[in-house]
Symmetry: C2
Subunit: 404 residues, 2 copies
Amino acid sequence: MYKINENYLKLPGSYLFATTGRKIREFIEANPDKKVISLGIGDVTLPLAPVVIDTLHSAVDEMGKAETFKGYAPDLGYEFLRQAIVDNDYKARGADISIDEVFVSDGAKSDSGNIGDIFDADNKIAVCDPVYPVYVDTNAMAGRTGVYLEEQQKWSNVVYMPCTAATDFAPEIPKEEPDIIYLCFPNNPTGSTIKKEELQAWVDYALKIGAVIIYDAAYEAYISEGDVPHTIFECEGAKACAIELKSFSKNAGFTGTRLGYAVVPKELKCNGVSLNSLWARRHGTKFNGAPYIIQRAGAAVYTPEGKKQTLNQVNYYMNNAKIIREGLAEAGYIVSGGVNAPYIWLQTPDKMTSWEFFDYLLEKANVAGTPGSGFGPSGEGYFRLTAFGSYENTLEAVERIRKM
Amino acid sequence: MYKINENYLKLPGSYLFATTGRKIREFIEANPDKKVISLGIGDVTLPLAPVVIDTLHSAVDEMGKAETFKGYAPDLGYEFLRQAIVDNDYKARGADISIDEVFVSDGAKSDSGNIGDIFDADNKIAVCDPVYPVYVDTNAMAGRTGVYLEEQQKWSNVVYMPCTAATDFAPEIPKEEPDIIYLCFPNNPTGSTIKKEELQAWVDYALKIGAVIIYDAAYEAYISEGDVPHTIFECEGAKACAIELKSFSKNAGFTGTRLGYAVVPKELKCNGVSLNSLWARRHGTKFNGAPYIIQRAGAAVYTPEGKKQTLNQVNYYMNNAKIIREGLAEAGYIVSGGVNAPYIWLQTPDKMTSWEFFDYLLEKANVAGTPGSGFGPSGEGYFRLTAFGSYENTLEAVERIRKM
């Protein structure tokens, strides 16, 4: 008799956004006259940039002619895309990454889940708390997290690094030594970030204890302040201890277009074994590339027009972030984030729990957000709003919250 | 200190097609005047069908306007595509599959690798020998296959089901009981298939011993003979023991466009746990959907024009298959396959090994194929040619082989 992966049965409830989605649907069904504005899920709303659309059209035309038709892509992704990534995201920032260290994928969610494949089940992970649920859930599926302790809302074998007002929403070096450290800056969900010297301290720590850092830089395009690192490979020694994951979802609106990449440096070795070669094997065996037309669209993002047009989109969302941040602060809320990230993190008023505030906000202002506790126990008492709505909706949502 | 997944280190050499690719490149470099025709890798060459191209263009236009822009897709895939799949690939064949049993993915290679996630490491797999390498390699990565025995070219903990001339290239019920049975019909690499009553016997066997069948039906569109099942769900009881994987790569030329789907029936349960819910969790946690524009393109394949145009492509390749099969048979080769599949399987002449024949064919006829032994030890003495070349190249390749 075959056996299932019993680790799946340890996973608590359903995915956070499935629950908020259901609650919002139920509210709308019960209140068909109310217009609910969602500042909840981190999905973009602006259409793809004109140069991306033009490039998609011409790549589609290529697929329609025998002379230019493309079948299976090269294992690591097309060189035209990997070269653009290396030149713009690394060389331009003084990070010496070569194109055979870049692996094009269908997005950072897949990569952040799949990267676990190349590690043993016997590794202790450390995550920020609150945290993007995918890191923890995928490790739970792989049997790395122990058992789920319902009451504490924690896994027994995970090192949690609280990120609260008390720590300025940054993780501190944990007492217990982890093997794999997940870091995400600019951060989802708190919208916070850390300075280059702080990230350097994490790199030094990982090198000292022999840990590997999985660095999720999906929100890098939203950095507006100086001295905030755009890639972990700006830090000295990072190539010997870090993997970086990037996405086209938030800088270029590819949430429904799907493109991302992982950087696995050749220097990154575990007892002499190159993780670059392990990931190359995984990539070549369990994946068959992102679509050609999407890879072409990704390369268009790095053209001069592409950079200008996608920067306009980022600025549009960051203006929303400013509206939310300043509007809520004026209304007396304690807010953070929203400066280098499209997320605003606020403390729930009147000692409401995160879910109580979710219900309250939905009912009183018809605005949907995401309960902080859904991202981990230290998210309790916090709430996430995103800047990905339209300008008009964002203005109205803030107005409604202020009048609440 | 973090630990890598040591199972990766047990994998022998590199991926088959990396080796044949290298040998072909080296030959071309050493013989720049020779025109090498590749009938090796199973990649298509015809451009995408006109209706698919038109649909891609209009979907791209949708992504360029705020009112029609699409962000994150529904977890299981868009309903318009899943409904088309259910209606055309299942209901039309009397198989009662519902849309919440269909999971849209980026291709059958990803699915056939990732499906292992929902099973315990302690399961014994059975595979045909020869076999598509991804089934075995991904199970080796998950630690399910024991150790690799170099001399036998086998894994110590895998049930191999020889498919040779002696078995009419079909597997026989194995002596040792497996937990997970991989079947692929029409078969890659042998091009053989089995009748419905034979597949029913496998379903009955799986139900009897409590095994699950992973049924890869990627080449279903090439079936030309009656009584060959188009889906395992034509068989009685299959919904309680089988998962089916499908691809748009070979019926519609999506190798570089990337789309596939898995059917995980709700009836499929292991000790009361629904595999449908496990796969839904995996799909929702470690994957973020195929691109909207590609899902639209997939749905276009099911329109009346789409069916007609893609059938023309299949017929084009099957005409190539006929040319290869009949040409080589006339030249005295012992060939099989090529009737319900785009693969022709031939016995190497003069007791050459598969790799000797690979070198011989490349050198004498400047034709590249794939050594049968690359697919498993029982593939030794066999060789695979594919029908995916152009008509002109296929004719010329056969001419060259006949004159060899």
